[in-house]
Amino acid sequence: MEVLVRYLTKKRDGAIATRDALVNCETVRFGRSTDNEVELPAPGVLLHEGVLHKRAGGLFFEGEGEGRNNVTIDGQPIASGPVKIGSTIGVGPYDVIVLLPQGETEIALSVELVRPVGDALATLRNNSVTRLEQSAIGKRSLGWGALAVIVVAFLIWPLIETYGIGDGDAALSKNPIEMALETETWPIAADLAWVTGPVSGPHKFLAQNCSFCHERPFVRVQDSVCAACHADINFHVDPKVHDLPEVTTALCQSCHKEHQGAAPITRQDQTFCSSCHQDIQRVAGDTKLRDVTSFGTDHPEFKPTVVVDAAAKTFARVRLDKANWPTENSNLTFTHKKHLNPQGILVPGKQRRRVMDCADCHTTDEGGTGYSPVVMEDHCSDCHLLNFEPTAPTRRLPHGSVEDVTNSLREFYGDLALRGGADVEDAPAVVRRRPGGRSLSQEERLEALAWADKAARDAGARVFTRSVCGTCHEVTRTGDGPLDYAVAPVFVVDRWLPKGRFDHSQHSAPGCVDCHAAPDSEKATDVLLPQIETCQACHGGETAVQRVPSTCVSCHDFHLDFHPPMRERVRNARVEDG
């Protein structure tokens, strides 16, 4: 049969061009390839889409597709079905319309590309994104976004929290303990982001509350803040005596720099001190201080404070000098040498010797840095028994005033005489009688008491002058009375070098005698201090390489107890502040 296939092509100007093809065939094949009667060469069409048959009842389209739903008949998505004149067979982008055949033609079809796919270049361009600005968020948006986050997190939030909503830091108590208790640690204080460096260890409890120190915006931290806790800090020099504004009027924070991390905020550097003390006459013409630049190489010899007169409690600072060693006039009689005898010292009444060492008498104080005073009852009385009557060896005298001792003697012998039974050879019979029984006559009592007085006198002479008190104390007669004695008052300085700090607990490695020449000391007046060279054997100045680097403040305080308190200055400053 003859089939007319009319290809319609839409031109650019909208006109339609037609190309007719006459084919002879038994069936009309639809498809992409050139062996089809109806050639549909656009993308989206299969090699063979289907076949149009002529049957008895009319035309029938039979789809061959592979289930691509590529074919519609009169708009219905069916692969096969009868068609008639005017039917539209949609194949991919094409519409094939069945026309009324004319002449010898048995089937007439018009073919038009009605759903064209874009051309290859347009497709490729549509698929592609080739510039970053098409894919990424804009640079400005990113910038503004980041800026907004930073401003909110690091400026607005902290400002609001500190100065705005609620009480903020400003309402915190000025009492540091109360403040620390009031502190809320959640959510974290926003102004922590403003901290320039970690707060020093001792002040860390303040670290959440910036406003405790930074009281007013844009105003440096005031001394009054420091004085809230550190009320008892004293001047380095008396401002009324020395006009040294660099040490009397400087702000606390001129020297004490906070937010420096774990390092102490006290000044440690040697030059801080030596800048004045290397030529101290220049800044304080009337001073008795000597120049010093470094402990290791240029530090005066120690000048201990020693007792000049224990009774009058007068002291003097005397420099250590081998030729003219200072003496501690404590009124004690004592020898370290005898007590530290390596063979030991005889223990009274026990027929044995005891080897003593320093710690038997010198025990560290509760703080561990110094030593507790040596006390007779604790440290001496094991050996120095204070007994006085050979027939009553367990009776001891009190370690106290002369009066206490004489009273004890009188009472002991009076009691013995009146009670009787004393085992004393030269005592009268009434004293030696068997105790108990009859009561004494007046004469007998007087005789007994006369004996008691004499016994007390004799014992007093023994006790005060030789064997007991006189062992350690200087005892003098104060009158002609039988018991008129005086014991010279004892006074020992607590520390020989009160202007320097020394921590014995940190110096436990060397033995005591490495610094203190006690084993050879025969007199209680010996000042058993080492000279500075002993310290310098281990300690050097700030820059020492083979010694322990030690600066001035390793031993010395800057704020000196004996100068006026600095709080006066803070108070005055507050008044001026209004």
Partner: protein
Amino acid sequence: MHTSILVFRNFRYLKIALALIAVAVLAYVIHDPLGRPNGGTWLGYSLGGLCAAIIVWLAWFGVRKRRYGVGKLLLEDWASAHVYLGLSLLIIATLHSGFQFGINVHTLAYALMVLVIGSGAFGLFAYMRYPRLRSINRGEGALGDVWALVAGMSRDCYEIARDLPDEVYRLVELADKETRIGGGVWRQLSGHDSNCASTLALEEVRGMAERYSGKDADAARRLVRVLARKVELLTRIRKDIQYKALLDIWLYFHIPLTVALLGALAIHIFTVFLYW
């Protein structure tokens, strides 16, 4: 005659930057502050002020480069100074910090500055490296031509595949419709597309071509040749997109980070005096 901004005016701005660094380092070495060196000493304030001034001036380059013929300095002056003074900040600002860093807005400003400088350094590297690689990659033709060539090849493929089995034709269709160039930021930067429809089609068709015989085999072989050429062109285009993306991407860090830096810097200065 074009001169690189690096050697511009016989390294004038390199010399200025080196002089600034030398003065800063010398002052830092000589200076013996109370406590650890930090931004709060006289030297700290001086170095900080210098850094802030340099940062603001360098940031102003972003405004200045859009104004032509304004001021005494050429745009090359600005660009050259931008590079050298920017790099000098790494040292001067570090000295300003006294090597003290923490989790705070101050170190944030420093970190942003380092990131800005780092992204700028990458930008400088990109400008020195990629334009040359890009023109080598482009070869003779302009890129527009290459796109047209690719599109033409897609059409050729349809033509060649018209009488080939549907399995082949479907691949040709996919290669045409699904081939994309570039895409998201990462795909542009990577310079290749592991799911490229044309490459997949090429591999498949190559396998199918071996099975065909006669007319189909000839057509399939022709198709393979065209697809291979198309894939090669696509690779070149993608490489070009990659170079362009590398030339652009650093600005997506440099500019927003600069804005953030200016904010953090202002807050840094504000807060150190607020909590003086």
